[in-house]
Symmetry: none
Subunit: 211 residues, 4 copies
DNA sequence: AATGAATGAGTTTTCATTCAT
DNA sequence: AATGAATGAAAACTCATTCAT
């Protein structure tokens, strides 16, 4: 391993370290009330250092989302590549993946869905926006390919695959946000898992061609 | 009309006037970048006056959402009370209402769905939080009653009515936010209408008991 | 009683009513955190009405002090006029009066002594300042006359009567403020009475010519 | 000198620089009319910087008082430690010290005595309040030790030493405030020095056991 | 590369006071 | 005389970001 590679790797580790700290603080305080100083403290670095790795607060925040989005997409790609099961089975696995991700990192997932806001998007740099678009498009296209397979095989109703993929994704984000807000408003238990289960069951049922 | 009633009415009009101005400014700038001074200017009032009618910026913002939520609920109640149609028809009308509301006031609707965030909820006064909870519960209970009718009549699958109502609402908010963010990210056209159409069609299909 | 006199009397009563309310609120909140609106509420009047009777907040506050100062002076004058006792006895009665006043209305008395601050004095109108000066001078002159009698009769040491009167007054205010602050700082019991007793005893002892 | 020590020293100097500026502005304008911006300007710093060193306006103000109080106490401790003189002589030196301090920094001294107000005390942080209590207790205890010596040696009357110390301190603050207010009210000359001289003479006379 | 002290623009909010009714 | 809605100036304070070291 050359000296350059080691430097590169160290740099990458420092980035992760900052993101890990940011995740904690954003989760605890929300975007507005989290301060760069606190994130720096959590990462055991100085505020100035964070700016060597991230252009600004907004982009640090968005980076967390992009990361998670990429991770979800990678999981979905694995599902797509399974040869032995059909689209309906893949949809079921998709549902399970969604639930796993929620349970693994609910706060960042919630942030990710909140990112879908004009106010936030307008403040991002061209570059990060580009990365976000790309990662987002990848996620949708992964879902799309599953849906397409279902339509091609005559299992799913004939709707445009992208439209169906959007609906899957929208339902995912909608359920996560909605049930979370019910939890906050009414001190209810966390019903995201059950609600996602039901939502995807209904959706899958709705997708299927009726004989 | 007594003097007291006139005063009361004037007061109510002033509130509306402020909310109208706030709606404009929040829509144009988003919550954070909107300033109370600008809202005051838009309402042709002084900043101090706003504070006679709303405790703070957060609550002014939330009031817009509560209002819209109450409006949606009132529309849903009308649908519920139609005697001549069954639950499936009512669901279709619900979808149409949702689309109408989106087209009538998309910005406030988007705000409403963004309200579902811990950061925002934590800053509200007990009183406004209570009003929000109540209005929100009313909305869900309206949907629930339609769903319940469908289940009772053997048209819809036997799932808990509240769960299904949550899914309807979550899908509504998810689609609105998701398609809006796609529009912002990719400069796409506004596909909310079509996507809602499809989403509700799929959902309705998924709700129905198969013979 | 003519109509004019009745009006006059009503006006005076309204003033008292406002001052009574102001006393409560200033005592509870301190000058800065007391608001005119709260005082108005306490007096069951509107804010505007207060301004018909007092030029501004500062003067309303000062009026309370002037009133109390005038009351103390009237008590002192009674003592002066007692023919049957000598200056030493009068000093003792003075001490008792001071203690009584403290116990009757400690908050206003504390305010009165805090009034001795450049910041406050600079904001008063010429007229109220004049009344304050006059009332204050009356108070000192009452004490002075007792001291003078003592010096003239050879009971008290030969110091200038005004200087001694100042010291009496300063000690009174100093003890009241100091012991009150100790009470606030250390949650001590209220030792003003005992401390005043001792202070005046020491002072009287110090005043007396030694044989 | 290590790098850490130099940093520490620089930090301390910056604090002093801010306090020096604050002293000027508070003296000229009084607490309420002084603005943080003006203090910052006077210190040739930005407003934000002040908040790196002092939590808020209130605490910056109180810090000035605590400093002076600590200084007075250190002077008193020196007096206590003089072996060659008795309590009566020490009391005389105490008086001189009090006068010196007044002449050295009358505005801060006046502020210090005004600090004795519930309104102010209630806004301080636990930490600063603690420091104030401690410094204040030290001051009283210094005086107490002188008084105690006098009582033990049979020179002073048998009163409780703390009570006598309170009276000394109360008289000091009372005279300073009272004479200052007379100066403001009546444009009189500054008679604090003379009045303090007389007050302490009287008090000392009063303290002494009569043969 | 890392630091962290300093910046200073920017905004909410308060409340004494006024004045049309 | 009384009201009380409206005013609007005024200021404390925060915190993302910079840059000299």
């Amino acid at each position: 391993m050359g000296i350059h590679e080691r430097k590169q790797r160290e740099k990458e580790m420092r980035r992760k370290q900052i993101m890990e700290a940011a995740k904690k603080v954003f989760s605890a305080k929300g975007f507005n009330r989290a301060t760069m100083e606190e994130i720096a403290g959590e990462a055991e670095l100085s505020p100035g250092t964070i700016y060597l790795y991230f252009k600004n607060k907004e982009e640090l925040h968005t980076s967390l989302s992009i990361d998670l989005l990429g991770y979800i997409t990678s999981l979905m790609k694995k599902i797509i590549n399974i040869k032995s099961i059909d689209a309906e089975e893949k949809m079921k696995k998709l549902k399970e993946t969604f639930i796993d991700v929620y349970e693994y990192d609910s706060m960042v997932l919630i942030n990710l869905f909140h990112l879908q806001s004009g106010e936030t998007l307008q403040n991002l740099s061209e570059e990060v926006l580009e990365r976000l678009k790309e990662t987002s498009a990848n996620a949708v296209s992964a879902i799309t390919s599953i849906v397409k397979e279902g339509i091609d095989n005559g299992i799913f109703v004939e709707k445009h695959p992208v439209a169906l993929a959007d609906i899957i994704w929208a339902t995912y984000s909608g359920v996560v946000l909605w049930v979370d807000s019910k939890r906050l408003l009414n001190n209810e238990k966390d019903f995201v898992r059950q609600t996602l289960e039901t939502a995807f069951e209904i959706m899958l049922n709705g997708f299927k061609v009726k004989e």
